[in-house]
Symmetry: C2
Amino acid sequence: MARIVMKFGGTSVADLERIRRVADLVASEAGDGNEVAVVVSAMSGETNRLVALVDALDSDKIAEQTNSLGGAIDDEYDAIVASGEQVTSGLLAIALRRRGVKARSWLGWQIPLRTDSAHSKARIESIDDDQLDPSMKAGNVAVVAGFQGMAKSGRISTLGRGGSDTSAVALAVALKADRCDIYTDVDGIYTTDPRIVPEARRLNRIAFEEMLELASLGAKVLQVRSVELAMNNNLPIRVLTSFVENGAANPGTLVCHEDENMEERVVSGVAYSRDEAQITILRLQDKPGMVAKVCKVMSDANIIVDMIVQSISRSDNAANLTFTVGKRDLDKAQAALEAAKTEIGFEGIKSDPNVTKVSIVGIGMRSHTGVAQTMFEALAERNINVEVIATSEIKISVLINAEYTELAVRALHSAFNLAVA
Amino acid sequence: MARIVMKFGGTSVADLERIRRVADLVASEAGDGNEVAVVVSAMSGETNRLVALVDALDSDKIAEQTNSLGGAIDDEYDAIVASGEQVTSGLLAIALRRRGVKARSWLGWQIPLRTDSAHSKARIESIDDDQLDPSMKAGNVAVVAGFQGMAKSGRISTLGRGGSDTSAVALAVALKADRCDIYTDVDGIYTTDPRIVPEARRLNRIAFEEMLELASLGAKVLQVRSVELAMNNNLPIRVLTSFVENGAANPGTLVCHEDENMEERVVSGVAYSRDEAQITILRLQDKPGMVAKVCKVMSDANIIVDMIVQSISRSDNAANLTFTVGKRDLDKAQAALEAAKTEIGFEGIKSDPNVTKVSIVGIGMRSHTGVAQTMFEALAERNINVEVIATSEIKISVLINAEYTELAVRALHSAFNLAVA
């Protein structure tokens, strides 16, 4: 007998037929004598529907009042969108009972799953198992509404988009679960996006550090914070598909601490992100502290700066500074820089939203040489120009013109032989 | 300055445009310096959508298991359908903030509004004002999700269909409000259904007792329990429409304790209900306790028996017993009676779902004579046959063939001169 946390995303509970399939999968684990907690997302499309209602009312500007007069609305946003998971958890509990499985739904505030007060992007502070643990020991499947918790104020909070992964991992840690199985619409972690590279291969195992980089660099299967949390608590996560017949093979990918086999692999995967935009500050004064000043302007505007490169012209006492920001932050970033133009001191700004960040990731890079050379040769052979480079111990990222995205991903997948196990 | 509870039903918050109109009405009351709590229903159609999801899963019967194996599902039903009011309360709070009005949403468990454990038809036990009262005194409009509370188990409960009226009245009592305004899609209480009698007239005032009878007898404007609660706490309810331009006259109907003017009125309204069905037990043994035995069989089957008439044949030692039950309970009632046939002792059962109960209501009946005579003459003149009669101090109800419903309602409305104030 084991204690298992199973998590099902929005596409896995998209309609009543899918919820019945999920109930079958859960009933099967419970029928094997396991103690089971299930974390569910909202039915796919439901969160978007609710967010659209909020956005419509939030954009109202009445007479001469400004939006700021009535204050922020993140607390109400949370109360509204959390209802999506509330519905799914109740429906799954009903489907389980109709399969003869004892089950009940748990909302964030009922557990309680406590978070900080950062409404709409709250962080989990603690999960109480005083009620959950005895309920599960008594043979009840706990069906937990994902993505939600309760702030100190006693109000509903949400963890931000994708937060159900984090709910599941945090719950598994709190319940001292043996496994955390994340069911999704793909059957595991792939060497790259199979829509771009048909030969992309499902990995049987991947190290936490690699998964963390892939998730940060654009792979959408797992939320970054959920991987961090699993890594810090040494909790293996299995990523597998809910779109499978009961009883059929469904090995998925195990995300766990690195082992010897993984280290022999030089590169584990190729990730890409189209969510980047490039900004170049032209002829920035070449005085100490100028880069720090730019970063402070961005940080004051709540904008995360990613890849940074400074290029110094020897002919005069000036430098260009290039960096990337999230595409949706581009306008805000430019406005913030223009506002601080005199203070920082620069000639102009050039920006390009038409860029992609392509990355290779692998813990084997630590012990293998020539990885960067292979990468840049593969790109150069296809005449793909690299704008910015960023590296860490286990990844190399390049910023390229977005038109070359698929070509670059295919070139790298093939240069590192990723189709072959 | 007054403390006001405003309640808006599903059609009043049916879409974003309606919610904006409601926000204008609430902002206007708050702008006049009043302390305001608002109770909202789910957007119309939303509760039906959620109930349909529940019903679909609840009707699953897996393999040889029976539905009873997995237990009742009313607790999960409540968690699911309560989400409808959760969404509306958040949306209205946002709309109010965008109008410069301080507001926050309150869910049943946050207040808390405590109920008994009868999930899906819970009764309110207490409403805590420890948080609500200071919040309102600090100038915040309290937007309260109607229809829901928290059971002793800490789980969400609901008050049953129409429960938002009861939420509003109970809240007004707990908050010692000066007024409880129930906004709906009609502009008050009418002498009868204007779809049947175009000359039907809006009443400026109506006594609690009359409203209670009208609500019990088929008028759908207010939920019976909300009127009881208002009467027992001497809280005036104003019924008025939310479909009115801000600032336009909207007198509505005041439901309050009787006064002299009301007593001068013989009849205040004509109600009808098509939800009845008639059952006649033929040749029931004429022994003491037989009617009690029939009532016990019905009560054991959870069926409410309404109008009862016993007719004794002098030729033999047997009687016919006629009574009405809710139309949706008819099959269940017949089955329960057939199962107890030997025990009770009767020859057969005749049933008729094709009946309507038509009633006249008025506290003036207590002091005026000849009311019954006027009623039966008006019906006899139209050749309308009366099957069963039931009376109380302030009402007379007759059961008639459903085909004559409109004719009877018009005849009575005119016989008592209700079109004239």
